[in-house]
Subunit: 138 residues, 4 copies
C-alpha cells in the first residue's frame, strides 16, 4: 500500500487495551483504527455529532478485514494510518495500518456505510461530503 | 453482608476481560456487576428496552464504590451477587459481590438513579416499579 | 454456509456492548465470536488456561473478516455460531455467524494460529488437539 | 479539592466509549482515569513496562470510588485530572476529576497497591519511587 495521502494518528497502549496473553487484545485494533478514521473526518470538518444533529446520519462499518502480523504491547506508542481508498454516494472504504515505528503490526480494510440514524436504513451521505471525499480518493 | 435475598448471576471470564497483568481488568468488574443488576431487573419483569420505550426512562449509575480483594483470571467461573439495599422514588442502591466459589474477590456499592432519556435529567421511576423495589428492600 | 456441525452459544446484549448509535459497537462482535470459540474449545476438553499451563501455548487470531448485515441492540438475545472450517498443524479457521432468532446479523471468518506463550512465535499445537480438530473439520 | 499539583491529560470521546443511552459508559471513566495516572507516572520516569521488567512489579487498583455528576458524550474533549493525595511504601491514592472545560463531570478516589507480578502478592514499591512520590504528596 503506497500511503501517500495517508492520515496518521498516534495511540498509546494502556492496560485497558491488553489481554492476559500480554498483548493488545485483537478486537481493540478495531477501536484504534476507528479513532484514526474519526480524527481524519474531524480534520476535514466533519465530526460525527454534527453529522448526527445536522443531517440525522450515522456512519457504520459494513465490512472489516483485519490482518494481525505482530503483537503490540503495553506502553507501546503506535501510529494508526488511514487512507480513503474508495468512495461512492453511500459507502466508502479505508485502507489502514497499525505501525510501531517502521514495523507493520496490523492491516485493515474497513468499508463504511451511511445510515439514517432513526431508522438505521442505508441512505446517501451529504453531497458536499461525498464530493469532498471523492476528491481525496482520486 | 448477609445476602439472603441475593440475586446471583454466573459469569465466565474471557480474554476480553483480562489485561496484561494476567488478571481481570479493574474496570470490567463494573461490567460484571451491571450484568447481574440487569438480569435481576429482567426477572422482575423490567428489561431496560421496555423502560426506555414505554416510559422514556434510563437508569444510570450515580456512585460506585468498588473494593478489589483478590484477582480473577482467564477461564474463571464467577458468581456475581446483587442485593437491593435501599430504594427511594428516584434512586436505589445495590450491594454487590464478585465471588469465585467461596472466595470473595470484589465488593461493590452501586447507587443508581432514574433519568428522563431525552433530557438526561433526574426524574421518578414508574410508581409500580418503585413499589415493587421497596418491597424487596424491606 | 451449511452449519451442520455448528456449535451455538447464547449471548445477551448489555449496555457495555452498545454505542451511542443505539446498536452493538462493531468491535464487540469480535468479543462475542471469541466467546463462542472459547466455549467450543472448552467442551472439547481444552480450556485455554490448560493450554497455557500444560503446553505453554496461546491461540491468537491472525486474520478476521467480519460482515455486518443488521444491527443488534440492547437486551437482544443472540446466538453465536461457530464451525471449524479448516485445520492444519499450526492454524485453524472458523466460520461464524451472529443471529437473532432466524435473522443473520453478522458473519465472520476467523483464522487462528498457535504461538509459544513466552516468545509469541508460531509453533505447532499439541498433536492430540490437532487430530481432534481435523476430525471435526472433515 | 484544590488541585494545585494536578496532572492533566486530554481525552477525546469516541464511539467505543459510549453506550446506547447516548453517553459515556460508566465503567469507561475508570479507563480514562487510569490513562491519566499512567501518563503521570510516565512523566515521572516510570512507565509500567519498566516497573515490570526491571522490578517484577505491577500496580493494581485496590479501591475505587467514582461519583458521576454529568454525562460526557460522543466527540467531547475531556480533561482528566490526577493528584496524588497519599503515599505509603506499598499503596498510594489519587484524587481525580473528569472535566469538560469548566464543568466537573465525575470524581474519583483511586487507591493503588504494589504487587509482585509473579505471585500477585502485596509488596513494597522501589524505594526511589516511594521517595519520589512522597515528595509530591507533601
Amino acid at each position: 500500500m503506497p500511503m501517500e495521502k495517508t492520515f496518521e494518528w498516534p495511540i498509546r497502549v494502556y492496560y485497558e487495551d491488553t489481554d492476559c496473553a500480554g498483548v493488545v487484545y485483537y478486537a481493540n485494533y478495531l477501536k484504534f483504527m476507528e479513532r484514526a478514521r474519526t480524527e481524519w473526518l474531524r480534520q476535514l470538518g466533519w465530526d460525527q455529532q454534527r453529522l448526527l444533529h445536522e443531517y440525522g446520519l450515522v456512519f457504520v462499518v459494513v465490512k472489516a478485514e483485519i490482518g494481525y502480523k505482530k503483537p503490540a504491547r503495553m506502553d507501546d506508542s503506535l501510529t494508526i494510518k488511514a487512507q480513503l481508498s474508495a468512495c461512492g454516494g453511500v459507502a466508502f472504504t479505508f485502507t489502514q495500518q497499525v505501525c510501531r515505528g517502521d514495523e507493520l503490526l496490523a492491516t485493515g480494510v474497513i468499508r463504511c456505510g451511511t445510515l439514517e440514524a432513526k431508522t438505521l436504513r442505508p441512505t446517501k451521505m451529504p453531497e458536499s461530503l461525498a464530493n469532498q471525499l471523492k476528491n481525496i480518493v482520486s
